[in-house]
């Protein structure tokens, strides 16, 4: 003997992005805070030590922001012209920045005046950074040279003039204190070793290089330039591992998350894409208002800071973890319930009788079980079902249609109920997954209530709305068909003359299915 089977509610595959673990993780940020800077934000750098302040380089200033502060907690403004690339040292005590006039300044985070000044570049210095031994600096300038500096003596150790265009990005190896890389507009990335007189490795990126990044292991190198993000295996002598083309404008900045599992890239196309570093597939992406110049992620991914070309700094903080406090709400069973049978020790031969599982039915299922069609339809037209889960409403309508009782369930309703019903139909009839049954229902309603049309203004208005909705949908479908026709002709010109009838068949079949789906 079978039990009652509840009405199956068809699950419609969700179109668009699938909700994955990644989307959930990256969606877990609060609404962004926007701060207006004086010019385009060219660099954001987080202090590697708590409380993780970050330095923002924009125009001729370097602002230091605290974690939740809207105002800068400190400002370095000793630059005559634009400042570039303010970068923290590993211990978070020193800050170095390049400038438009060609000098490099080293600041103490606590102080105001520069501790050291490095002169030597003849043109603007767009990139500067510490080597991992903390006592040396590297820099790259618009004079095509990449230099290495000694901090204590403020002197130039070595100058490499191997690039043939502006040097705009660079990165130091965290593993080897002597190794750093620079990327240039001459489409190359060069790897330098401080112990040698020339570059150790040259990687041809293909486009002007805007940003480079070394993985913490030092084995992989990521370069961004043009629309491409390319990953290279350094240990294999600069072999291209993967080339990603997910942006449609120049990629300007790169960043790794704290675990090293995800790679972020920001671009002038206003998107930040997040890649998995195992599969190099885009797992999530953010949208921003304007083109992105710089991007930084705080340790533990607590904060995402994005700098734009229009000088807006966009800061997103992670939401605090939700704690589930449900224990308080449920009424606890009585104490007696807990002690009952506590002392009983089950024996080997004891037969365990499991409680019969009670089938919990929704209200409409209970009504359908007892063949009360009209009431079942009423139950699914209640606001919370009608508005939030229209598929349940439609599934029950379908079931009533299947049982042949839909007409009697629709009949005999008053003005308010018809109004409600028509409102639902007019709103949902254009959804392809509901169309077939709702068209039947609209048909039946017009059939049943034809004699009373004109007696109620509200119902008449709903009928007109329904007509309008259907008319619009028909126009829309016609337009779509036109587009399809155009696309077909395009495809036909693209396919080779040798194309067999087979491919045509395929095309025809595909378009046919699309047409009927949209109908």
């Amino acid at each position: 003997m079978a039990t009652y089977k509840p009405v199956p509610v068809p699950a419609v595959p969700k179109l668009g992005e699938r909700v994955t673990q990644d989307t959930l993780y990256w969606r877990g940020y609060k609404t962004p805070v926007q701060i207006k800077e004086f010019g385009a934000v060219n660099k954001i750098d987080f202090s590697p030590v708590p409380p993780y302040n970050y330095a923002v380089t924009a125009s001729s200033r370097i602002h230091i922001y605290g974690r939740y502060s809207q105002e800068p907690i400190k400002t370095f403004s000793r630059f005559k012209d634009a400042a570039y690339c303010a970068t923290y040292r590993d211990d978070g005590n020193l800050l170095v920045a390049g400038s438009e006039e060609g000098t490099i300044r080293l600041f103490d985070v606590g102080g105001k005046a520069p501790l050291r000044q490095f002169d030597g570049h003849t043109k603007a210095v767009h990139v500067v950074g510490f080597l991992s031994d903390k006592y040396r600096l590297f820099s790259g300038g618009d004079d095509y040279s990449s230099n290495l500096w000694d901090i204590p003596s403020a002197t130039e150790i070595v100058s490499y003039s191997e690039h043939t265009d502006y040097v705009r990005c660079g990165c130091a190896s965290k593993v080897n204190a002597d190794v750093f890389i620079t990327g240039s507009y001459d489409h190359t990335v060069k790897l330098f070793d401080a112990r040698t007189k020339s570059s150790v490795m040259t990687i041809e990126h293909g486009q002007p290089v805007e940003s480079v990044l070394l993985f913490p292991s030092g084995g992989l190198l990521v370069s961004a330039g043009g629309r491409y993000v390319k990953v290279w295996d350094v240990l294999k002598g600069g072999q291209l591992l993967v080339s990603l083309k997910n942006h449609h404008k120049t990629v300007t900045c790169l960043c790794l998350n704290s675990s090293g599992q995800r790679l972020l890239s920001g671009s002038l196309d206003r998107h930040v894409k997040i890649y998995s570093t195992t599969s190099y597939k885009v797992v999530h992406s953010f949208n921003y208002a304007t083109s992105i110049l710089s991007l930084a992620l705080s340790p533990e991914d607590e904060t995402i800071v994005v700098g734009m070309t229009n000088g807006v700094l966009n800061i997103k903080h992670r939401k605090p973890e939700e704690r589930k406090d449900e224990s308080g709400k449920k009424r606890q069973p009585a104490y007696r319930m807990y002690v009952k049978g506590r002392t009983y020790m089950p024996k080997q031969e004891d037969f365990r009788v499991s409680k019969p599982v009670k089938q919990v039915l929704r209200k409409y299922d209970k009504l359908l079980k007892s063949f009360q069609s009209s009431k079942a339809l009423d139950a699914v037209l209640e606001p919370h079902i009608r508005l939030y889960t229209p598929e349940v409403t439609v599934a029950v309508m379908q079931e009533l249609h299947r049982r042949g009782t839909l007409r009697s369930a629709l009949a005999g309703r008053d003005e308010k109920q018809i109004n409600l019903l028509l409102q639902f139909v007019a709103r949902r009839v254009i959804e392809p997954r509901f169309t077939s049954i709702l068209v039947t229902i609209a048909d039946m309603i017009t059939d049943i209530y034809q004699p009373v049309v004109g007696q109620s203004a509200i119902v008449d208005r709903q009928f007109l709305k329904l007509q309008e909705a259907i008319g619009k949908e028909i126009d829309y479908q016609e337009e779509l068909l036109e587009v399809l026709g155009m696309m077909d002709t395009l495809f036909a010109t693209f396919t080779k003359k040798t194309a067999t009838s087979l491919e045509e068949n395929e095309n025809n079949g595909l378009t046919e299915t699309i047409i009927t789906n949209t109908n």
Binding site: M1, A2, P8, E399, R402, G404, T516
Partner: protein, 826 residues
């Protein structure tokens, strides 16, 4: 020679089921057989065959509850000893028997319904006198008409309490005949006919204790008639719950409640014959055809239209169900063999797929495919299963369900994965509307060599395309399931409807038939390789040859041609003019079976594709059309003597007739399907074991051994248990029993009396015969012959006795008939 063996799913039940007196066993009329089921194990214990046509009535012998009467359309009534499964007597009545009623008050006669001689579609209830004469086959020609113009259905006539009256309904008339007063009362209700329904009588039942008749009507009403001994002042009350015809009614043993059932497949229990108190047992699977109640009132049994038997407790709790091959309205799925269990798979109850075990004639399990509530109502168009396909290892199952509608059919393609943990199929992918129109063919690429990842499913639809479905692996590690199915390729041919599809044995070629043309496609690139056709006539079936004949493609057209094309030369190899309905290749050999429909009979042709001459022809397989057949691989190859039947060595051919009877072909003589163990019935009633009964049992055992040694007839000992005195003796505790000297005469007397009761009748018969003898000399010879037959056991004892004079002989016989069996008990 080849024999057609019926092996399951036989015709529907013609009569109500009958419980044995102890409610341990159940009898059902099933086609030409009477089946005996054990209620404890749900097993078929015995199949009693002997009738030549449908069994229409079953009744226990009221005077000996170890015997059973059965009637059949072949015009005979049989009396069975069901414990041994042997017919004791066969009474030939002559005309068709449509129903059988046995009442306890008429000792030597039964009531049957027979067609009125001369009249068409008129039937009469007659009393048949069963002669007491000795011998197996007897004529029962003494008929006396009781009622005229009764309905043919056995449910339309019922006997009232203590057989004082008989009630019969037909159309809108109820007639009650009182035996004692010889009075016939007729009542009629005014006929009401609407579009869909009418209020005709459908069944009748009589209250066992009161003067009350319950009648069921086609509009779902039940009427309770009282005071019907008066022609005018009769009354009736109405009970109404059923929305469709009431198909059967039954009163409980005491008459306190009434059970009714109908098309809704709900068993309704009406308390105290009132409308307000009723209980329901809903969703019994299919329409309830017959209801019967056991004599102790503890159980109730319903027979359903899908050949299922349901046992229900007295408190209306579902107890168990006995089911073989479930009969569904239409078998659309065809016969498919599950590669895993070797079970036959086909439509079961609505929306379900049944897995039927051929060896045990039982349903293994029923898989719910549609997963929707089925509404048992006539004229509703509901979703049902239309196509089924298994992958080669049985790991994947593809099902297609369809709800036919005028505008657009609702279609769903479901793919099920066999879950090793739960040992059942789990839904993997469900595709709504895979085709625009109904699907005509589904097949998997069943290649054993390839791993399951390259599994391909092809569906052919009436929407003029065939689609190729492939498995896709979900790269997302967090995904709920690893694989899902999606469409890979859509192919069509000149905008013709695709009708069949099938893969070659190695999976490299796909053949799809488009109306008159067969197209062959490469299964890797999906290129059209070649086309075949044999105009005129559309292609009905296609299949590839196997093993050595893999280069052949066989097709049949509805113009009556069987064609064999060579795939290498792309030419017609041979063709034959044959109207083939079923084309079934054996998966384990080259042989292909074709069942044709020629001049009102089905014939079987078995051939190898490489030679146009069939290996085996079996004409007149059955009189019905055969639409479905399947080869089921045998567990171990059978030894087949003849070259002609070599094709039966590795697999067995099963086919399903239009009446949904499952048949097979066998070369062996009929062997008993039942295992010897199941034949040993527990004849003993469950007596509590006391030292006395153990002693008695020992004696009885010894005695039976002695009997065997002596070659004597074993004296039946049933009376020992049935006698109330013995029961009392065995059940009373020893310390309250009176002295043995007091008990002994009672005990002995009880044995004697019970025996004499039975024997007295026979003695009376003999006396009667003798009186006849004196009157009619011509009968004498026959009688003496019979008597000599009767005395044959005596001859065993000594040859001299037959030389005795007649008076001496009679005396001797009298002495012999005196029962001395009690002596042996001590």
């Amino acid at each position: 020679a080849l024999r057609v063996v019926r092996c399951g799913g036989s015709a529907r039940y013609g009569a109500r089921a009958v419980f044995t007196a102890d409610s341990k066993y159940l009898f059902c009329a099933s086609g030409d057989f009477v089946k005996m089921y054990s209620l404890a194990t749900e097993e078929t214990l015995r199949v009693m065959g002997g009738h030549a046509d449908l069994v229409t009535g079953l009744q226990l012998n009221p005077h000996n509850h170890m015997q059973l009467y059965s009637s059949s359309l072949d015009g005979s009534i049989k009396l069975w000893d069901f414990m041994d499964g042997i017919p004791i007597k066969t009474f030939t009545v002559g005309s068709k028997l449509l129903a059988l009623y046995v009442v306890s008050s008429c000792e030597d006669s039964v009531f049957v319904i027979i067609p009125k001689s001369g009249g068409r579609d008129t039937f009469q209830l007659v009393q048949v006198k069963l002669t007491r004469a000795a011998g197996q086959d007897l004529e029962a020609k003494e008929l006396s008409v009781v009622l005229d113009g009764v309905d043919a259905s056995p449910k339309c006539t019922a006997f009232g309490r203590e057989a004082e009256y008989v009630a019969s309904v037909r159309e809108v008339n109820l007639q009650v005949y009182f035996f004692k007063r010889k009075q016939l009362n007729r009542f009629s209700i005014s006929a009401v006919r609407t579009k869909s329904r009418n209020n005709l009588f459908t069944c009748v039942a009589c209250h066992p204790k009161e003067d009350c008749i319950a009648t069921g009507h086609a509009d779902g009403r039940i009427r309770l008639w009282r005071n019907f001994c008066h022609k005018k002042e009769y009354t009736y009350s109405t009970l109404h719950w059923h929305h469709d015809a009431v198909l059967d009614l039954a009163f409980s043993v005491e008459g306190m409640s009434l059970l009714s059932g109908g098309l809704e497949s709900v068993l309704v229990l009406w308390h105290n014959e009132s409308d307000c108190r009723k209980d329901f047992l809903p969703r019994l699977g299919s329409a309830i055809e017959h209801i019967s109640v056991s004599s102790d009132g503890a159980l109730c049994c319903t027979l359903h239209s899908d050949n299922r038997i349901t046992i229900v407790n007295s408190n209306l709790r579902f107890s168990k169900s006995i089911q073989g091959l479930i009969k569904s309205t239409v078998v659309k799925t065809g016969l498919v063999v599950d590669p895993r269990t070797k079970a036959l798979v086909l439509n079961g109850e609505p929306g379900h797929l049944q897995f039927y075990c051929l060896q045990s004639d039982q349903q293994l399990f029923s898989l719910d495919i549609v997963q929707r509530q089925y509404i048992h109502q006539a004229g509703l168009n509901q979703t049902d299963l239309v196509k089924v396909a298994f992958s080669a290892q049985g790991k994947w199952l593809a099902t297609v369900e369809e709800r036919e509608e005028a505008t657009d059919p609702e279609l769903q393609l479901k793919l099920w994965f066999f879950d090793e943990e739960t040992q059942s199929f789990k839904l993997n992918t469900s595709i709504a509307m895979p085709h625009e129109d109904s699907i005509t063919g589904v097949c998997f690429r069943d290649t054993d060599e390839l791993d399951d990842d390259s599994l391909i499913l092809v569906t052919a639809g009436r929407d003029r395309v065939f689609k190729v479905w492939v498995m896709e692996e979900d790269t997302d590690p967090e995904a709920r399931q690893k694989v899902s199915w999606s469409c890979d390729f859509v192919g069509s041919y000149h905008n013709y409807q695709a009708t069949n599809c099938c893969f070659s044995e190695d999976g490299s070629l796909l053949a799809v038939s488009f109306e008159e043309t067969v197209t062959v496609w490469d299964s890797v690139t999906w290129d059209l390789k070649c086309t075949f056709c044999h105009p005129p006539g559309k292609i009905r079936n296609i299949c590839f040859g196997r093993l050595t004949c893999a280069k052949f493609l066989i097709g049949t057209t509805d113009y009556g041609f069987l064609c064999c094309w060579n795939l290498l030369s792309c030419a017609l190899e041979w063709s034959a003019h044959l109207n083939v309905l079923v084309l079934q290749p054996d998966p384990l050999s080259e042989y292909i079976a074709a069942v044709s429909w020629l001049s009102q009979e089905s014939s079987l042709f078995v051939f190898k594709p490489n030679e146009p001459r069939p290996t085996c022809i079996q004409r007149n397989l059955c009189k019905e059309k055969i639409h479905l057949a399947a080869f089921v691989p045998r567990d171990k190859p059978e030894a087949v003597g003849s070259e002609k039947y070599l094709w039966l060595r590795r697999s067995q051919l099963f086919f399903l007739t239009e009446g949904q009877e499952l048949m097979t072909l066998s070369t062996k003589p009929l062997d008993e399907r039942l295992t010897p163990s199941s034949k040993q019935l527990a004849v003993e009633e469950s007596l509590p074991v006391t030292p006395f009964s153990l002693l008695l049992g020992k004696h009885r055992h010894q005695q039976s051994q002695e009997d065997v040694e002596l070659g004597m007839l074993i004296v039946p000992n049933e009376h020992e248990q049935s006698s109330p005195v013995v029961k009392e003796l065995l059940h009373t505790p020893a310390h309250v029993l009176p002295s043995a000297s007091f008990l002994c005469p009672i005990f002995i007397n009880s044995l004697l009396i019970s025996k004499q009761n039975q024997r007295a009748e026979e003695v009376a018969d003999v006396v009667e015969m003798e009186s006849e003898k004196s009157e009619d000399d011509s009968d004498e010879e026959r009688d003496t012959a019979e008597m000599e037959q009767d005395t044959s056991p005596v001859e065993l004892w000594g040859g001299a006795t037959c030389k005795l004079s007649k008076s001496q002989e009679r005396e001797l016989r009298k002495i012999r008939k005196t029962d001395y069996s009690w002596v042996s008990a001590f």
